[in-house]
């Protein structure tokens, strides 16, 4: 608030004629404001309560590594392109999860965190922050960018050959394997990450025990037909590796409740709607979100958008997960993602001003806060034409 008033004062004093002078004085102002809404601390482990509401920059390499094949919501992705940088706001939910992850006893069974909140309150970006932390701290990332993509708008479906009554989403599975490979390319090449069991795909294709995990993944990518089976095998292998203590794993699933919503858009050959539990991919992530393994942590989000529009009546986890889902991940830690606080909103508006996204005028912050109800997504939409 203070920042805006000072800026306004200066703006009023400078005459509009002296445009050049005004712009030349801008850098001084910017560096002055830099401390107020930005932090140069890009190591997520060092983020503390003092950083709440501040933006930090995700380095370009990290972004390329984690988010090339999804992970950031599309509207935010466009925004980062326009702003010429990827900045995430340090907010309470992600900070809370990171704090818990730091103090977690990894010899105990997996702890599940569930992010929930209204539409557009920043669940996916909180997950992105957690992912960045996991990447910086050498976790193996098992990250599903959006389950709704599989259950609501899958590319292709076919009946499973190995399991009676199950449906494969092979193209989506292969795409996910590619995502897994890019996100964990630095870990998969390590010598002690090996498979434990021999996998026989067909007469000629065999993945022997003790081969690289990378080769298993690449088999799935190259032979799309087996992609779904590979993911299930991969899930088993990851659990075993984690149990041995070779790697620490972060399971991050966005739109996790889509695994329990019966009204999917996946069909059998007879055009019958398939229950998500009858999709082979689901099995892998059910295994990974179970508590019977250690050296891992699961961060899941439940989202209204992942289910059909007619059922989008409530954003709370018990409703979205349904009984089966709730029982599957019980006991979990619910982490609410709320709308912006006043401080966060001011910080966000300052960031927009610094990125020259909005033209400043007196009373802008109050007006925008009122119109958008401090909802981050709505705020972005409201500021777009300003």
């Amino acid at each position: 608030m203070y920042a805006t008033t000072t800026k306004l004062l200066i703006k009023n004093v400078i005459k509009p004629k002296l445009l050049v002078q005004r712009f030349s004085s801008a850098p001084v102002l910017l560096s002055d404001k830099l401390q107020k809404f930005r932090t140069s601390e890009s190591n997520c482990a060092n983020h503390t309560v003092d950083h709440l509401g501040l933006f930090y920059k995700v380095p370009v390499e990290d972004r390329k590594h984690i988010f090339t094949l999804g992970g950031l919501p599309k509207s935010f992705d466009v925004q980062t392109k326009t702003f010429n940088e990827t900045c995430l706001m340090i907010r309470q939910p992600s900070l809370d999860i990171i704090n818990c992850m730091k103090n977690l006893d990894f010899s105990k069974p997996v702890v599940r965190f569930v992010l929930y909140g209204e539409m557009g309150s920043g669940k996916s970006l909180a997950l992105a922050h957690v992912l960045h932390y996991a990447y910086q701290n050498g976790f193996l990332m098992v990250h599903v960018p959006w389950v709704g993509l599989w259950m609501r708008r899958c590319k292709e479906y076919s009946n499973s050959e190995t399991k009676e009554g199950y449906v494969d989403l092979n193209l989506d599975a292969a795409a996910w394997l590619l995502n897994f490979k890019t996100q964990n390319s630095h870990l998969l090449t390590q010598p002690d990450i090996k498979t434990d069991v021999e996998y026989v795909w067909s007469k000629r294709e065999v993945t022997p025990a003790g081969s690289d995990l990378l080769s298993l993944v690449e088999h799935g990518i190259n032979r799309v037909k087996y992609a779904s089976e590979v993911i299930i095998a991969l899930a088993e292998e990851i659990k075993k590796l984690s149990n041995k203590g070779v790697v620490r794993t972060l399971v991050a699933v966005d739109g996790y409740n889509a695994f329990f919503y019966p009204n999917t858009r996946v069909y059998t050959e007879k055009k019958e709607v398939v229950h998500p539990q009858k999709v082979t991919l689901t099995e892998a992530f059910m295994k990974l979100t179970d508590f019977d393994w250690k050296n891992g942590v699961a961060v899941l989000t439940v989202d209204e958008i992942a289910i059909a529009e007619e059922d989008q009546t409530c954003h709370l986890p018990r409703y979205l997960l349904r009984k089966e889902g709730f029982e599957h991940i019980d006991p979990f830690v619910p982490v609410p993602v709320l709308n912006y606080t006043h401080k966060e909103l001011t910080s966000c508006m300052d960031y927009y001003r610094e990125r020259k996204w909005v033209k400043d005028y007196p009373g802008l912050d109050e007006e925008v806060e009122f119109i958008s109800n401090s909802n981050p997504y709505k705020l972005m939409k409201v500021c777009a034409p300003l």
Binding site: L19, W357, K359, P385
Partner: protein, 231 residues
């Protein structure tokens, strides 16, 4: 003198409003009789009225209700809302507003991209990042000065150049911009094309400005008929 007339008028209005409303009402489909004054919805203009004391005169005059798009928001621009109304088809104002707002967003994205690409403080300062000022500039640049009207003389229609009023010029310039936005490939969205046209027009280039120049050239060519306007 004027003040006296005004008070008299007020008295007249107050005493027999109902009768005169039936007599005077020639205001098209409007629900308001013509003597209703326009609302003052901007905070600044209200404060000005209070300062100058004009408000006292207006207090008891019958006033129209403010329209839905007339807000006291500082981001409100009457020309933009007029442009939204021109964009509107079949009364779908929600769509029209969305399109114009997305168009502004596109303008901002394009300009900011340009801003990040250019090097040097001076060059950067030259780039206009405010979509509204670009919009105003574009409208101003596309306004024609003359236009052709068909006038019949001796059984022949002559295209006669005539000067036009500012309001008509503004209408033409806006309409040309919208037409240019619609004239595009099927895969390109209207708001994107409109954004491109607006940026071009604000730089005094592009199809719409060319159209204006074409019209001026034709007027120039038909200057021999100019006297038909009055004879």
């Amino acid at each position: 003198m004027f003040g006296v007339v005004n008070t008299l008028k007020n008295q007249f209005f107050n005493s027999n409003l109902k009768i005169i409303s039936n007599v005077i009402q020639h205001n098209g489909m409007s629900q308001y009789p013509t003597y209703f004054i326009q609302p003052v919805y901007k905070k600044e203009s209200q404060e000005e009225l209070i300062k100058s004391g004009e408000l006292q005169k207006l207090t008891h005059l019958p006033t129209r209700a403010a329209l839905v798009d007339q807000t006291c928001s500082a981001s409100h621009d009457p020309l933009v809302s007029l442009f939204i109304n021109y964009c509107m088809r079949k009364g779908d104002k929600i769509l029209a507003r969305e399109l114009v707002e997305t168009c502004f967003e596109n303008i901002k994205r394009m300009q900011i991209e340009k801003y990040h690409k250019t090097t040097g403080e001076e060059n950067k300062a030259k780039i206009d990042l405010d979509p509204k000022s670009i919009f105003h500039k574009a409208i101003e640049n596309c306004k024609p000065v003359l236009m052709l009207t068909p006038i019949k003389r001796g059984g022949v229609r002559y295209q006669v150049p005539v000067p036009i009023k500012d309001k008509k010029a503004q209408f033409l310039s806006m309409n040309w911009l919208i037409d240019a936005g619609m004239d595009k490939d099927k895969k390109v969205r209207f708001h994107l094309q409109l954004a491109r046209e607006l940026i071009d027009a604000s730089n005094n280039t592009g199809r719409v400005v060319k159209k204006k120049h074409d019209l001026h050239r034709q007027c120039e060519a038909n200057r021999a008929y100019a006297h038909y306007r009055w004879s």
